[in-house]
């Protein structure tokens, strides 16, 4: 069975590879015209995650930025030609997005790999590292083949289009819209940046079924889930055509009508509270239920084998998260700085909150608690980082530390599932908390940025916290249900095709030896 599966997989990959260049050539001319048409038609080619609100902060800096762009373009061509010339991305923005993308890769491999790896028993260390590296690689390839087009490649409520299949028509000159009118970044770096998000999200899930899943099952599930849960949620929350086309109520309505389902509702998710964390947290919880508990769970000691690795991993996550959150601004400007400070202080606050709460309730402040608190804070500030003020970020962080500590204790016992590395307790719960609190602290009355109106090019004067929290709750609910349903079906399917769990003997021996034929440590 195992062999059959890998052979099929290989055949599929090879087949795809052979077909890809041909298909790309076929349609290349057609796509080219669409991409370049951006300015001509007045519609920005690519969208980016954001809503009206996000650009609120982007706006103040937008004026200087676009001025720069024009200044650079001016020397080359007379003023008359400048209008028709293709948009030129700002080099500072571009450089920042390249760095941000690398930072997210760093937080995944090795950051997340070590954070999770340290938490399992020594006999399963390599299985975690291998699942992380392979899922990262597989999703990266799938992203440029069909992931990016379906998530960001065109209008639609739940999915994009296949117009940019195989990145058709995307050239070094293609640009992606940002949150400021007239400001762009190269579309290729937008593809890469979003690729890292798509790759890290399924890897978050593996913590929930760690130490007992078949390697083939982990891969197959992640491919299915990426295709049917990550891509549509990313599209629903983040897809819009960009701000350039919005000049009055009618154009705003047109852009909104073509945007993703949750974006159109006005849901705020700066860097992925719903798309990444709730999405993955729910899939993890479903997995923990469907795979069942590890052998000996609750009876045998399953202590983490290296909290030193876990601390290193958590720290790399913290560093890399600056790329994740700040890069989500797509521009290197004042809002980027706001997202940076928020990511910094919310995480610190959550670390403090978790540690002190643990110290008071359990008697000792643990290293694992501090590392977990940091991750909980990072998760919770993710949807909020470009919308709230630093004091709002501290409150979000403090609450995240305490709530997620409960998530891995009281809530975990309540749910009764063996979520090995607490994916739901930290990412699911922290994501939900952060998404809802974004609606609260984005309010200008609480130091937030409010929601930006691209028609008036100013922050909307009326921000009603309850209304926004309700919108946030709808986004949270949609994500939970969508990811939950897709996960149940995907796990079932994987169970039928390759089987979910390794045999009892293999589980006892450890996945390193039984699935990969090697050991992490030799004495």
């Amino acid at each position: 069975m195992k062999r059959t599966f890998s052979t099929l997989l290989l055949a599929a990959v090879l087949g795809l590879g052979a077909w890809l260049p041909a298909a790309a050539q076929d349609k290349a001319p057609a796509t080219l015209s669409t991409t370049v048409a951006t300015t001509a038609s007045g519609t920005p080619l690519v969208m980016a995650q954001a809503d009206d609100a996000k650009s609120a902060e982007a706006k103040p800096t937008a004026a200087p930025d676009s001025a720069t762009v024009k200044a650079e373009a001016a020397p080359d061509a007379p003023a008359a030609d400048a209008a028709a010339a293709p948009p030129v991305p700002n080099k500072g923005d571009t450089a920042w997005m390249i760095v941000a993308t690398v930072l997210v890769i760093l937080m995944t491999i090795p950051g997340l790999a070590l954070f999770y790896g340290g938490l399992v028993r020594a006999k399963n260390m390599l299985s975690i590292l291998m699942q992380t590296m392979m899922i990262f690689a597989v999703v990266t390839v799938l992203w440029v083949i069909y992931g990016y087009p379906l998530a960001f490649g065109g209008d639609g409520m739940f999915y994009g289009t296949l117009d940019k299949l195989f990145l058709k028509g995307i050239t070094p000159d293609s640009v992606a819209a940002t949150f400021s009118k007239g400001v762009y970044i190269p579309e290729l770096i937008f593809v890469a940046f979003q690729c890292t998000f798509a790759a890290i999200t399924p890897i978050l899930i593996i913590g929930a079924f760690a130490e007992r899943i078949k390697f083939s099952a982990a891969l197959l599930f992640c491919v299915l889930w990426f295709t049917f849960s990550y891509l549509p949620i990313a599209h629903m929350v983040w897809y819009w055509a960009g701000p350039d086309a919005i000049t009055d109520a009618a154009t705003l309505e047109a852009v909104t009508a073509n945007a993703g389902y949750l974006w159109a509702k006005g849901a705020l998710d700066f860097a992925g509270g719903t798309v990444v964390h709730i999405n993955a947290g729910v899939a993890g919880l479903v997995g923990a239920f469907m795979l069942g508990k590890r052998l000996g769970y609750g009876r045998e000691a399953m202590a983490p084998h290296s909290l030193a690795f876990t601390m290193i991993g958590a720290s790399l996550l913290w560093v890399g998260w600056f790329g994740f959150n700040v890069g989500s601004n797509l521009e290197a400007n004042g809002v980027a700085a706001l997202a940076f400070v928020n990511t910094f202080v919310a995480t610190a606050a959550a670390t403090v909150a978790w540690s002190f709460a643990e110290w008071m309730s359990k008697g000792k402040p643990s290293m694992l608690g501090a590392a977990s608190g940091a991750v909980a804070g990072l998760v919770a500030i993710t949807p909020a980082c470009g919308f709230v003020g630093p004091m709002g970020a501290i409150v979000i962080g403090l609450l995240a530390g305490v709530v997620c500590l409960w998530g891995v204790n009281g809530l975990k016992r309540l749910l009764g599932a063996d979520d090995s590395l607490d994916v739901f307790g930290v990412h699911g719960l922290g994501g939900i908390l952060g998404a809802l609190l974004t609606g609260v602290f984005a309010s200008p009355s609480l130091g937030g940025t409010g929601v930006f109106n691209y028609v008036t090019n100013a922050v909307s004067p009326d921000y009603v916290i309850l209304d926004q929290v309700w919108i946030q709750a709808q986004a949270v609910g949609t994500t939970i249900i969508w990811s939950g349903v897709v996960s149940v079906i995907a796990y079932k399917l994987v169970d039928v095709v390759v089987g979910l769990r390794v045999s009892e003997d293999e589980e006892r021996e450890g996945l390193d030896i039984s699935s990969h034929g090697e050991s992490a440590y030799h004495s």
């Binding site: 000691a301 399953m302 202590a303 983490p304 359990k362 000792k364 643990s366 694992l368 608690g369 977990s372 891995v408 204790n409 975990k412 016992r413 607490d422 307790g425």
Partner: protein, 112 residues
């Protein structure tokens, strides 16, 4: 000839080795072991999971000595390994039938 086996606290190993060298013991074998006795284990807490660790790390040392050294070896180990707190360990003494030095083929007392 006797084989003396002692279970001691790991951090006492150096003191014990020194005490044994001083009285003329030519060599010992040391193994890291785990076990339990009257000393209680401890509790470890990882997020929501609590584990009682019963087996504590100890060091086992073995020394083959001639009859005349036995009492002094026991005294030396007792004195150097004692902290006065529970968990200091135990000393076991066995009769030793034969000893062979592999390199030279010497046996018995000569091989010690």
């Amino acid at each position: 000839m006797k084989l003396i086996t002692a279970i001691i606290k790991p951090f006492k190993l150096d003191e014990v080795r020194e005490a044994l060298s001083t009285i003329g013991v030519q060599g010992i074998t040391v193994t890291e072991v785990k076990g339990f006795g009257r000393q209680k284990g401890h509790t470890e807490l990882y997020r929501g999971a609590e584990y009682v660790v019963d087996f504590l790390p100890k060091v086992k040392l073995e020394a083959a000595v001639s009859e005349d050294l036995v009492e002094r070896v026991i005294e030396a180990i007792e004195a150097s390994a004692r902290t006065g707190k529970i968990g200091d360990g135990k000393i076991f003494v066995f009769d030793l039938e034969q000893v062979v030095r592999i390199r030279t083929g010497e046996t018995g007392q000569d091989a010690l």
